[in-house]
Every structure is written in C-alpha cells, then in structure tokens.
Subunit: 134 residues, 2 copies
C-alpha cells in the first residue's frame, strides 16, 4: 500500500498548517484519515491530490461550501459539466462585484486624501468627510 504520508508531509507539500488539515477533516472537506496503531493519521496520494484541490480552490476564493459542491461533482464523472461552470460563473460575478466596490472605495479615499492640505486635525478634511452624514 501507499499510505506512506503523515499529516506533516501533506502540510509541507501543500503549504497548509497541520491544524488546518485536521480542521478540514473535522468539517468533512477531507475524509476521516486512517490511523496507525498509535493513533496517527496516514494519507495516500489521493488525499494529497484532494488537499491540493481544496487549497487551490481556496486560493481562488471559493468558499468551503462551493468546494464541497465541486468535490461532490468530481465524484460523478458522467454528470454534465454545466453545474461546475455555474459555480465558477457565480463566483466570478461575486469577484467582479467586489472589484467594482473596492474601486469605488479607492476613488473616494483618494479624493479624501487629496483634500487634506496638511495642518491640524481641526481642519482635517478626511475626518470632516467621515463625520458628514452620508
């Protein structure tokens, strides 16, 4: 058998904290790992692949709920690819909304900062702007 991997191996291979891997097991993202006689978790390369998938999806900003769906889908190879695309498209929409929002914030902050001509707090335009009833 190829159950040669310990939790620390998975951690260093994926840049995940050991505690985080245990957390993924607890919350069902990773299956419950088999244990040695002394109770240590053992993993094989399938587990490593799964963890890599999870971490990569997390880096792309998918929520665990979405990752759970994606993982469930990848277990049904005959299912239509559409469901995956839908999840990805929904996520894309979220990201685009966030970008638009942040750009608005950036512009407003920039505007506020440019107004500041130095001087003392009592004349500070940034605080002034924040204090105004929106």
């Amino acid at each position: 058998m190829s159950k040669t991997l310990m939790i620390g191996d998975l951690a260093s291979a994926t840049g995940t904290k050991v505690n985080t891997i245990r957390f993924y097991e607890e919350t069902g993202l990773m299956r419950r790992a088999d244990r040695t006689a002394s109770g240590r978790r053992t993993y094989d390369f399938e587990d490593l692949k799964r963890l890599r998938f999870i971490r990569r999806a997390r880096r792309l900003g998918f929520e665990t709920k979405e990752i759970r769906s994606l993982l469930a889908l990848s277990d049904r190879p005959e299912a239509p690819c559409e469901e995956v695309t839908d999840i990805a498209l929904g996520h894309l929409t979220d990201i685009e909304a966030k970008i638009a929002q942040l750009i608005r914030l950036r512009d407003e902050l920039n505007r506020m900062i440019r107004l500041c001509a130095g001087g003392s707090i009592s004349q500070c335009q940034i605080l002034e702007q924040l204090a105004e009833s929106s």
Copy 2:
C-alpha cells in the same frame, strides 16, 4: 437636555442593527450610554454623530482598530493632520493590493471558464485546472 434618543432611533437613523450598537458599546467604540431609571440606553446628537462616523468609516472598509485611532485623533484638534493621512494612506494601499489580487483571480477564473467546452464532468477543464498541482 437633549438625551432624547433611544437605541432604536440611532439604529434607524444610521441603518445599524440595535445589537450592533450594543456591540460597539461593549467593545468601546461607543462610550457606555447613560441609562434611564428602567435601564434603557439614552443618547444625544453627539452619540449619533459618532455612530455615523463609525458606520461611514466601516463602509469605507476601515477596521475598528483604525476607527478607534481616528476617533482618538479627532479628540486632539491641535494634533497634526498627518497621522490621519497616514492611516488613510495605509488603508488605501491595502485596498489597492486587494484590487490587484482580485483582478488576478478574475482573470484566472475567466480563463478556466472559457476552457470549458461543455460535456461531462470527466472532461471538465475547470476541475482539471483546480486539481493540477500549482
């Protein structure tokens, strides 16, 4: 006196949940409100102004720690405006980094979605990409 405002008035005037205002009191963003004989919080227009300031800064994405600093600064009218500008500039840098990061994610997601030619899960390029060791 002008302590005519109850917590619900502040809530509806600022679009804040009542529980959130209590939370701000608990965590020291808002001062501990005076109480009526029966224990209800009373507020004046100064409190309302402060809450508006907090909410506006939160909408602009400032953390409570930063807001605490800004509020402390606005109590020192003779202090130099520079400290405020520094907080705002630091925040601006954070926002710009976040925007750049999100744009990278968006492009990568877009790329993955475009690769998907339909068909079944087993050929899904999105899952494929996620499964690849990065």
